[in-house]
Symmetry: C2
Subunit: 276 residues, 2 copies
């Protein structure tokens, strides 16, 4: 792509999620690519997606993607695991910009990590039911086995800020015990909220899965792939200034700003509300 008047390198990277969770992806992208502008959309009016049918998720995903494309983005990162599981190929075929989901990078990172060829995935009910990580892992390593467990308490635990103590520890213990019999050595956090519980999850994984078990954050894996590939499919931002972050939601901007500060690690002053 040539550097025309539109200066596509100056366009932001679009990121969307069903709500707040995708901000762990934004955080990881900003660490990896500090010069890039990011335009974020959290569909807070219709969160959560993880309990919806694939048809409904597809319809919502198209709405979010179109809203970002209309604003002008150079590429789209689907930070939501549920959308990545259900809609990524459709979005890739329908949109004029490159589209990257979180599942393929998370699956590739898990394949690089595993020694036992047994990979565990925790996520929302819908994401686990989709079998999406197993499909992506099979593309890289046809001998690896993937075992999924739905962990629906984790999202409300994170949104409440209950990130340590007995309740998250016992809930994690209960979920990971279901994976221990399969002798997994790699655990993929298949939901964007879960990295907020990473300290508890790593402690319990050490106890339940063994001292060599590794935890893979799909959002982080996605940001690392993005750093490797940007400049090829789409132009990079110029390295002369800090990238800006613009946040949009479909409902409840104040509540979002408060919680977003915890996800991003800094205060958030300006959240735009849009209608889809």
């Amino acid at each position: 792509m040539s550097d025309t008047n539109e200066r596509p390198g100056q366009l932001p990277i679009g990121v969307f999620d069903s709500g707040l969770g995708g901000l762990t992806g934004v955080h990881a992208i900003r660490e990896a690519l500090p010069n890039e502008d990011i335009l974020y959309l959290g569909d807070t009016a219709r969160v959560p997606y993880g309990t919806r049918s694939p048809q409904t998720v597809m319809r919502y995903a198209r709405g979010c993607a179109s809203a970002l494309v209309r604003r002008g983005i150079k590429m789209l990162v689907v930070a939501c695991n549920t959308v990545s599981a259900v809609a990524i190929e459709t979005l890739q075929s329908e949109l004029a910009v490159p589209v990257l989901g979180v599942i393929a990078p998370g699956a590739r990172a898990a394949c690089r990590s595993t020694r036992s060829n047994k990979i565990g995935v925790i996520g929302t009910t819908g994401m686990i039911a989709s079998g999406a990580y197993a499909r992506e892992v099979a593309r890289v390593n046809s001998t690896a086995e993937v075992f999924g467990v739905a962990a629906p308490l984790f999202v409300p635990l994170v949104e409440e800020g209950w990130l340590e103590g007995e309740v998250p520890r016992l809930a994690t213990h209960r979920y990971l015990t279901q994976l221990a019999n399969h002798r997994i050595d790699t655990l993929v956090l298949g939901c964007t909220h879960y990295p907020m519980l990473r300290v508890v999850i790593e402690h319990v994984a050490h106890d339940v899965l063994g001292p060599d078990a590794r935890v893979i954050d799909s959002a982080e894996a996605t940001a690392h792939e993005l750093r490797e590939t940007i400049g090829t499919a789409v132009p990079r931002a110029e390295e002369i200034r800090q990238g800006r972050l613009h946040l949009m939601v479909t409902d409840l901007p104040q509540a979002f700003a408060g919680a977003a500060a915890r996800f991003l690690g800094h205060a958030v002053d300006d959240v735009e509300v849009i209608d889809l």
Copy 2:
């Protein structure tokens, strides 16, 4: 109302909720009024309402109410606490059938129960933020004080079926401890999911709030008021047969049928999907 060709006594009672939880209300109504037909709508495509803005909840509530009225109902029970908190007066003024919410009956039952004039309410974040129970309590007893605590983990605990053991016990303990300082003697379950956790909640309330603390289920209080008043505002069903229950949802009928069986205590074979 006279018994015309339309036989309004034979029309069902319409009940709606953001999803599954309203089935605790259906269960209570069927216990109280076994001859009445019930037409239930769970807005599973847009659940949960408890985290939405009042404007969004109002828009969703109008959609659900209209769908039921179009089918033909003799009255409407709003089983959802969030909708009852935000939209009940608007629905009462806009609809041609009588409308009963769960908050006023729950508040009246709490006022009959309390000796200390200090009432606790647990519910979703949106419901607690609305202050709706405090307003309804003030209409009955202007000297009673109401203290609210949001308990956002309870809905996913119920939907997971984690109804006993350490995780629900510790979560309940953490929520009720916040009410113990206020010396409440009556605790209102201000969310339709919470009666499923009633055994744990009553145990912890006994320990944390004292042996005389009483737990009020708003859905049950609503069903009792309905039994007292039906026949006045709307005609009763004839007492010659068991009432029928017809279930409608806006997404995921199979998942709903499975969980509904736990809420109702019997298998559910036929769930209709409608578009709003």
